[in-house]
Symmetry: C2
DNA sequence: TACCATAACTAACATTTGTTACCAGTTAGT
DNA sequence: ACTAACTGGTAACAAATGTTAGTTATGGTA
């Protein structure tokens, strides 16, 4: 009973959240109404509340799911015993792959987190700051070991992270090159730009 | 009479549009109400309509102002007789400078153009597509002349343009490096990433 | 069969939204 | 001094918003 309830509940909830992710990406969080969402799910607006507790909760789930994913990935990368530039490459590749394969949720959580409200907003802001700082630290290590050009590390982080969010344009473009080729191109340019020749 | 009327009108209108640009950046277009805007201007919401004709018009003015600026800049750059990689550098530097000095309007027009409605929406979409294509063409010329690495030109454009939009983080960061140093760092990484060594 | 959680519906709510109509005070040119 | 434009305010609007209350059909479990 409990088992079925949970399974049914979560699949339905997941449908709603996935649909919301798509709408939030297309129109933005604020410009998406619960009635828009309901229509896409194929249900009345009020019925959504059998599965979620508020519009805000949807955004929270999306943002924290993505934040956790990136946080735990950088944990494993940072634990490896490889050159700093390889760590940066691994992080970058992960970002690219996530943007290619989990476009909606990654993009939304990156663009719409500002609409979170306060316990969650501060939390996400802190997580984002910490995350960028960890990448910056790796870059600085790479600079010390002369693997990476002498540049301002926060600027490098800013370029990296925003460049991958440009994969949105790739998704919407007509003649898409493959995800793998996209990845190699981005790595060539960005790692090539960081690396000490 | 007409002269004075126009001058007064436009300064007040400009104030409104500048204030709107700031709010649209902070909260997004949809999440900014005319009453929010009015409060920041120091006036009642209805009074705004003595100067502008709709909320949509504000976004239109912002988007087309910025689009025209970038379009006419690439015109002049493209007319010059310099290597392709130098053209790309000039375009990139212009983007960086605009993001540093005209943050609000540039950022807003880049992020919120999706909320335009249809005659304007199609127009802006076309302009953006054309603009990216022109940069891609310059890059392809650079690749043919072996000034630039053999990469997918649209991907390079995507990286360039989105990387500069990351200057938003720079604006909000506590310990800002100077705008000039930011520019040099970004050029180092991005042009370094494109250039054939 | 009786029961109960699930998940859908309809109706309604209090706010908030963009916008309009109308009015009043100030300013500037004749 | 008179007029007209400019710029503000108040009141109100219809529509849209997120959300709640209450009801009903369904399908699995005791």
């Amino acid at each position: 009973m409990a088992k079925i309830r949970q399974r049914k509940n979560s699949t339905r909830k997941e449908t709603i959240i996935e649909t919301a992710a798509r709408l939030f990406r297309e129109r933005g969080f604020s410009a998406t109404s619960m009635r828009d969402l309901a229509e896409q799910v194929g249900v009345e607006a009020a019925s959504l509340y059998n599965h979620i507790s508020s519009k805000a909760e949807i955004l929270q789930e999306l943002c924290f799911k993505v934040a956790n994913k990136f946080m735990s990935h950088i944990d494993t990368v940072d634990a490896e015993d490889i050159p700093a530039i390889k760590k940066i490459e691994a992080v970058l590749r992960f970002h690219i792959q996530q943007m290619v394969h989990h476009y909606e949720e990654v993009y939304v959580s990156d663009r719409e987190w500002k609409h979170l409200t306060d316990p969650y907003l501060s939390n996400i802001q802190t997580q984002r700051r910490v995350y960028r700082q960890r990448i910056a630290s790796i870059i600085e290590e790479g600079i010390r070991k002369a693997e990476i050009k002498k540049i301002d590390a926060p600027t490098a982080v800013l370029i990296m992270l925003h460049a991958v969010s440009g994969i949105e344009s790739w998704h919407r473009s007509k003649e898409k090159i493959s995800g793998e080729i996209l990845e190699e191109n981005m790595i060539t340019i960005l790692i090539g730009g960081l690396q000490n020749k």
